[in-house]
């Protein structure tokens, strides 16, 4: 019952929860966002490419990743990354990859599929005439993309990209299945040790709610400010 809710366990584990757990979650979220938007933008350009093979490859990758649950993807990469690393450096045995790098690669490759779709609709929202104008001015494909299309597509999509990042921030909790101490994992460890599941999980829920609600409120305000007036 709530009567014997033990606030002290939260106070006692505060440092571990935030300095280890939340720091891991935030670091992973930030790096996966940067990597995911980078890879996602490349995938979007590939999907929109006039080369059928490139476009088919990117489309298949994005559709495959979007059809599979994140938990399964986490397991996939956890076992696959050591083999890929061994293949890249030519090692005969699978290479030990740290938990953080493994999780980071997973989230970059997984979220890239979702960021790709956002960037693709962003790129498609730019009138085709701008691309032709760029080409007519003598810019090549990459220059047109880098100086004309992508800056606008990116700006138009900032609110959606950030909303997806809030989803990513929540998704990071699923590294729990690999027993990595992210914010939820750290709280889970304390909960198991002290037999205080009710307190720890309620606290985790409240912290996530406050952070995500606050962030989506800010994104909402930003949305009104960055809109390009036409």
């Amino acid at each position: 019952m709530l009567g014997n809710f033990d606030f002290d366990v939260i106070a006692r584990s505060w440092g571990y929860l935030f300095q280890t757990g939340m720091l891991f979650t935030l670091k992973l979220t930030a790096l996966a966002m940067v990597g995911g938007i980078g890879v996602g933008t490349m995938l979007a350009l590939m999907r929109l490419s006039s080369n059928r093979a490139i476009s088919l490859f990117a489309t298949s990758y994005v559709n495959l990743v979007r059809a599979v649950p994140l938990v399964l993807v986490i397991f996939w990469f956890y076992f696959l990354v050591p083999y890929i690393a061994a293949w890249i450096i030519g090692s005969p045995t699978p290479v030990q990859v740290g938990a953080f790098s493994s999780a980071l690669i997973t989230f970059i490759m997984f979220e890239a599929a979702y960021y790709c779709e956002i960037m693709r609709s962003g790129i498609q929202s730019i009138p085709r005439g701008q691309v032709w104008a760029g080409r007519a001015l003598g810019m090549n494909y990459w220059q047109t993309m880098a100086h004309v299309v992508l800056p606008q597509a990116f700006r138009n999509m900032i609110p959606v990209l950030l909303t997806q990042t809030i989803v990513l921030f929540q998704d990071v909790s699923l590294v729990y299945v690999l027993s990595i101490p992210d914010f939820v994992g750290a709280a889970g460890k304390v909960a198991q040790r002290d037999g205080r599941l009710v307190e720890m999980y309620s606290f985790v829920a409240v912290v996530y709610f406050v952070l995500c609600y606050g962030l989506s409120f800010l994104v909402h305000r930003l949305q009104r400010r960055v809109a390009i007036i036409r």
Binding site: M1, A67, V167, S202
Partner: protein, 249 residues
């Protein structure tokens, strides 16, 4: 690269004594579908009510429904699973808590409740978006014809909205199938968990995960195909709600 491939693993007997590893996968798929479908019915029913309330003229009711949506949207699904599984039975009155814990399929029931509430908030958003996307004149016409507010919703707005929001609902249905994999954290042996079990018993990691991935893809394609046919059948010419960019999966 010295991984030892063995695709015949699926026809070998699983150590849990229930049959072959293929049977393990099939049983996993059935649990995934059972969890997702039961939770989906719950999510549709709840989401329809909450989504409708969000659009009502009564400010306080609408605010209450908005709060409901925000609560379920801003806490990770995994944490919600833990709340339902570990916290709810303790916070409820003793008798109710003990009853939940002693249910034969406690983790399945918990997973369905959790996924149902989680997805209902997302369905609610789609429902209210669908209602808001209808021309204002429809509601006015209902009022002008002398329909009460309830009748306007029942005979004019909801039937229209239901057909307009079918495409976004399809992607929510795909999401609930994928999200049911989170139930493995509270002990439901659904598809992902059975692939993981095969990996643990037989060490054939990549065969097990490939099989699970293929099954998810096939289910996905099946749902998309069926929903596409349904969408074509009920589509209202001229009404398309652009897939509300809500993010998530």
């Amino acid at each position: 690269m010295n991984y030892h491939w063995n695709w015949r693993i699926f026809w070998e007997a699983a150590p849990d004594g229930t049959g072959t590893y293929l049977d393990t996968l099939v049983s996993g798929l059935l649990w995934t579908l059972a969890t997702a479908l039961t939770a989906w019915i719950m999510a549709l029913a709840l989401g329809l009510v909450i989504g409708t309330v969000r659009t009502l003229p009564n400010k306080w009711l609408a605010r209450l429904a908005n709060a409901y949506v925000e609560v379920f949207r801003n806490v990770p699904l995994l944490v919600q699973m833990f709340l339902w599984y570990f916290v709810a039975p303790e916070v409820l009155p003793q008798a109710a808590g003990d009853w939940i814990k002693s249910l034969p399929n406690a983790s399945f029931v918990t997973a369905v409740l959790c996924l149902g509430f989680f997805t209902s908030s997302r369905v609610a958003v789609q429902v209210s978006t669908g209602i808001a996307a209808l021309p204002r004149g429809q509601k006015m016409a209902g009022t002008a014809l002398g329909l009460t507010l309830g009748q306007t919703y029942r005979y004019v707005l909801l039937p229209m909205a239901a057909r307009v929001i079918l495409p976004p609902l399809t992607s929510e249905f795909l999401n609930i199938i994928k999200n049911s994999s989170v139930a493995l954290t509270i002990g439901v042996v659904e598809l992902t968990a059975s692939a993981r079990a095969i990996q643990e018993f037989s060490f054939q990691v990549f065969e097990a995960f490939t099989a699970a991935t293929l099954i998810y893809v096939v289910v996905n394609i099946g749902v998309v195909y069926l929903m596409h046919r349904l969408e074509k059948k009920v589509a209202i010419p001229g009404f398309i709600v652009a897939g509300a960019a809500s993010g998530g999966h």
